[in-house]
């Protein structure tokens, strides 16, 4: 029994079948089955219909915009590192950690803390990302 619509490998089998990479025996078996099984015909049809979803070309300025963003970020990081190349660096990092912790555990009821949304968690993730930048790496 090879029915694609009752088989969790169905999507994989179908893609191999349509790409004609299955061996002859399996191909013949599927040919036969698909003729008889409306569900599988439907699945094959869906696979082909998905091909209609074309994508536009990437716009020409894409790389330039990306490199400009990278340059801006590099400049920012360099600024940070220069500023941190001072004895106060560990203190600043510690303060940032405290600030980050305060964002996750605001003073207030446990319920309020529970409601702290994913947005806040992401802010912390961002803060942690920024902490990475705080590590003096000048080599």
């Amino acid at each position: 029994m090879i029915c694609l619509s009752r088989n969790e490998q169905g999507a994989e089998l179908l893609s191999s079948y349509l790409a004609k990479t299955l061996d002859a025996a399996r191909t013949a078996e599927l040919d036969r089955h698909i003729r008889e099984c409306a569900d599988c015909r439907g699945l094959a049809m869906v696979w082909e219909r998905l091909d209609e979803f074309a994508v536009p070309e990437v716009t020409p300025g894409f790389d330039a915009r990306l490199y400009a963003r990278i340059a801006r970020e590099e400049a920012r990081v360099l600024g940070w590192r220069k500023w941190l190349w001072r004895p106060v660096a560990p203190l600043a990092a510690a303060a940032a950690v405290v600030a980050a912790v305060l964002i996750v555990h605001p003073f207030g009821s446990p319920d309020a803390a529970k409601q702290a949304s994913k947005t806040e968690i992401e802010q912390v993730a961002q803060a942690v990302d920024d902490l990475d930048l705080l590590t003096p790496i000048d080599r």
């Binding site: 969790e8 439907g42 963003r69 970020e73």
Partner: protein
């Protein structure tokens, strides 16, 4: 076989980026720009947003260069970042403005694309309606299923890679994709 070669090439390039070779970053960008933008485009169905998100992905790759270790397949890592930024964006945009506007932007782009080709008005309309059905069927999938289908159908990732991207077991991915294609069949098969 080819995939293994590709993996090694990407990892080598990334290791060179780690050593400060920006040309290698350019090569990685060249290799993955298209797949990234296209995956994100089908995820969010808006060209400007998809390019913005793809830039976010490459920015994160560049940002991680100093700590990069070739532990996972580079493509898996890339799609993992892309899926993450796409899911965040979809969630934020849903909060901001319902997804009708998404559709309108999409239609604009689509109409322009269709007009570019020289088709008869009738062919154009049929094409447009069919394309809209496909888009809407994909958009109606839960975001995780949508990501899995797009990686599987259009980007050629196998079950194991998709499992790596979405941090699930392979069997979880199999049933996720199974449900997704069944849902698509329900929406699309009867209107061919």
């Amino acid at each position: 076989m080819e995939a293994v070669v590709a993996l090694e090439r990407d990892a080598q390039l990334m290791l060179r980026v780690r050593e400060g070779d920006d040309t290698s970053f350019g090569l990685l960008l060249e290799r993955h720009r298209g797949p990234m933008v296209h995956f994100l485009y089908r995820m969010v169905q808006n060209q400007a947003v998809s390019e913005e998100l793809a830039q976010e992905v490459f920015l994160r790759v560049y940002r991680s260069r100093e700590t990069y270790e070739p532990t996972a397949k580079f493509t898996t890592w890339l799609f993992r970042i892309a899926t993450h930024v796409a899911l965040n964006s979809i969630r934020d945009r849903k909060k901001e403005k319902g997804h009708e506007s998404l559709d309108e932007e999409m239609l604009d782009g689509m109409e322009r694309q269709v007009a570019d080709r020289q088709q008869t008005v009738e062919q154009e309309m049929v094409h447009e309606v069919k394309l809209r059905e496909v888009r809407q069927a994909i958009e109606a999938l839960p975001a995780k299923q949508r990501a899995a289908v797009l990686m599987h159908k259009y980007e050629g990732l196998d079950y194991a890679q998709i499992a790596g991207v979405l941090s699930c077991s392979e069997s979880a991915i199999k049933s996720l994709l199974f449900r997704a294609y069944e849902a698509l069949r329900g929406r699309l098969a009867h209107m061919a």
